[in-house]
């Protein structure tokens, strides 16, 4: 296999790590919605925690994305 082809395949494989971040962020927002619809009065106060959890989870996916870019452009 040519080195250039292997580089593109590797970059594609590296971004697969974002699947995990997608599942995680989906779980966070899904659980927030199911909690918020049961007790709407408490939902507003948890907005910061919601965004915080989503941001911390998303960072891991972004790490995989940046790794893919590093492989592609180095």
């Amino acid at each position: 296999m040519e080195a250039e082809a292997a580089k593109y395949i590797g970059a594609g494989l590296a971004t697969l790590g974002m699947i995990g971040a997608g599942v995680g962020v989906g779980t966070i927002f899904g659980n927030f919605l199911s909690g918020a619809t049961r007790n709407p009065s408490a939902a507003g106060g948890q907005f910061t925690n919601l965004i915080l959890g989503a941001a911390l989870t998303e960072a891991l996916g972004i790490l995989a994305f940046v790794l893919g870019l590093v492989i592609l452009f180095s």
């Binding site: 910061t48 941001a55 911390l56 972004i62 940046v66 452009f73």
Partner: protein, 261 residues
Amino acid sequence: MASPMHQFEIQPVLTLPTVNLPGVGAIDLSINNSILSMIIAASLVVLFFAVTTAKAAVVPGRAQVIGEGLFGFIDDLATGIIGHEGRKFFPYVFTIFTFILAMNLLGLFLVFTATSQLAVTATLGGMTILLVLLVGFIRNGANMYKLFVPAGVPWYMLILVTPIELISFLLRPVTLALRLFGNMLGGHVALKVFAGFVVSLGALAAGGGLGLLGIPGAMLSLGGVVALTALEFLVAFLQAFVFAVLTCVYLNDVVNLGHHH
């Protein structure tokens, strides 16, 4: 068609002579497009708050409500997370928030996004973590080690917990920088890729014949560009907000070390 990565290239705008500072070395004072967009962003923030608070009244006008709303939003955030001492750190959090928000939003109007440069976001992340370390050591001194040794954990668990806490602390500036960088870079690449589809499918349709099938595809991509631009405005605000929230959380860790408020 230009490459989607073309928009992130640094180009010189104004070439200035190199200045030699004693003890520091040669400093290149040239202005490139990254510095230019940061200057515009910082000036816009100052101008915005100068205009909105110029004629401050007890009963605020439209502009004053926006300015005060933004101010109160971050004030609530800082005092909500750090507690009553949050006011001390409010100026830093507010500066970081408005500066990142201005850079992100400018990136959607201008051709260049300063926050899509890793050097810019890494500097912002480094500044935050240096402030956290400085405040931590000034307030707690040698007790800073408690950050990695949670209270009430048995000693045999500490063997496992302490290295994890240490690594997670060391990764904070990295994730802080990469999150902002990756979000802005990824969003703008996706925008340009979809915009490129419109051009290349349009060129296909111009050839006539079967190529005319490219027209519905081009219309779909154009709709995608509009939807993505709307999403990018949300991301621009959300990432500035996330940076401010995380700055507050990291400061709270060292300000209220060892006791929960």
